[in-house]
Amino acid sequence: MADHLVIHRAGISAVQDLGRFGRSRFGLPVNGALDQFSARAANVLVGNREGDPLVEVAMLDFSCTPSTDVLLAVTGAPADLTVGGVPRPQWEPTAVRAGETVRIAGIRRGARVYLALHGSVEAPSLLGSCAPDTILGFGRSLRDEDELAIGRGIAPIDHPVLRHPVFRLGVPVPPFPEEWTIDVTDGPDIAEFGASAAKLFDAEYTVSPQSNHIGLRMRGDVPQREARGEVLSRGVPVGAVEVPAGEELLVLHRGRGVTAGYPVLAVVTATGLSALGQVRPGQRVRFRKRSVEEAVAAYRAQRNTLRALRKRVSTVFDALRIPTTTPAPATEAL
């Protein structure tokens, strides 16, 4: 039987990737990991492509056991990661022996944790992506006792006796605050809100329990549109801050329908979307205005961080001859 990962406790988890691109003309949302930075970082840390399938774990505890030696990395929200009962750091590659149990427990402050395996996990693909699409009914949540096929295992690479962590790559970990500040730029319909638009930056919003990968509903002092009349449906970007004529803001995320007719007051930035992917129901959010230039620069800086990390990973992996069939020499923390 092929190497696999046995899921003991699935909680709320699914196999994800960065999304299903290029189908929005047919009305398909992009979907994919809600915190794209953490997902990309997890894959980079184990030497995968950034868009390889990985496990997204939301809120609840998760545990699994690989049938072979694996190298994995856990990123995203702070949690207690243990391997065979021993605490291990997040945001670093971690060697796991065949049969050892990996536990992710006590996810806090943020909503989502990403678990990437060197060699990735196998998952069915639809139109070029394994990302679940709840509206199409494609992909499904993982369940207890599921088995995920592992692309390829790895020889043991930590010290056989001392079990010191091998890696210390030092990823700049994004903040996971109790109260979030989300960057936005002006939206295409901001003029329709007149002076009331400024409320978006003065008010504090509470994320409602009816929030998911499609969008987050937020309660607070909502700006009021001055213009009247219905908006003709048109394409709305991921991150659109919509203001229906109710008491809540609707902030669209990666599962959003590609068209909508509510006025778009602001658009969450690319880096802001990764942060928003971590916001839990009940947490408070403030919005911060950014220019398009500032937002692009911030996103490029984040992608450059990943590029630099990939370089360090490849230097270390080359030194350890990963992947390799002969056990690498035990190494002190690098």
Partner: protein, 236 residues
């Protein structure tokens, strides 16, 4: 066509092209022709095109390209398209619908709002061929010009979290079928028992922008005759 559009930033990862011509049909053909041209050009970093009635959303990865270069590509495509975008081909689809009751819970409210009887609303909605303008949310939904109601229909102030598949809805001056169960803020007039999408097809839906739909009222007890049948063009 450059003089007939405005290109606006839409956040750090998208621009929106708004067609600005006197003729609505010209605006619609322009944004679809432009989307075709961009798809053909296969621009690096551009991963999403959403042409609708009079606007085209272009989504991209702003680490791989930027607003200026996307704008330049758009302008070049507009120049190549010339003055008048082409007519689009058109097929006819006939769609059986059970109006009102559990399948169309907002029919009374819509009639009330428009100052019409429920039967008037049904007659107007099923009495004309409605042209598909784009495929939109949720997944592959055919977005149509709405029927000749006397006024635009207001969206629900709080969107429903779950609308059954096949629901037939209207909002503003638009009409739609919701192909899959999904959240939605449009008032529901009825529901078709047909299966709208084919998930095994690369293009998901049998219809394209430019095709026409005619809704055919059926009685609730006729639901079973059509349940689960695939939607197909009446004229091949």
């Amino acid at each position: 066509m450059r003089q007939h559009v405005a290109i606006l930033d839409c956040g750090d990862s998208a621009v929106v092209v708004k067609a600005v011509h006197d003729d609505a049909d010209h605006r619609w053909r322009a944004v679809h022709a432009l989307a075709d041209a961009l798809e053909e050009a296969d621009l690096a970093g551009v991963h999403g095109l959403v042409p609708t009635y009079d606007s085209l959303l272009v989504e991209f990865d702003c680490a791989d390209t930027d607003h200026r270069s996307v704008r330049r590509s758009l302008e070049a495509a507009l120049d190549r398209l010339g003055e008048t975008p082409e007519e689009r081909p058109s097929k006819l689809f006939e769609v059986p619908v059970v109006y009102g009751g559990e399948h169309g819970p907002d029919l009374p409210a819509v009639a009330d709002q428009l100052g019409l009887t429920e039967q008037d609303v049904i007659d107007l909605h099923s009495g004309a061929e409605l042209t598909v303008r784009c495929l939109g949310a949720p997944v592959g939904a055919p977005m149509m010009d709405g029927p000749a109601f006397p006024a635009p229909v207001a969206r629900l102030s709080s969107p429903r979290t779950s609308v059954p598949p096949g629901s037939v809805a209207v909002a503003g001056k638009q009409a739609v079928i919701c192909p899959m169960r999904s959240p939605g803020g449009w008032p529901l007039l009825g529901r078709t028992p047909l299966r709208v999408l084919d998930l095994h097809s690369e293009r998901l839906a049998p219809y394209r922008p430019g095709d026409r739909f005619r809704f055919v009222p059926i009685r609730p007890e006729q639901w079973g005759e059509h349940a689960g049948a695939p939607l197909g063009a009446a004229d091949g």
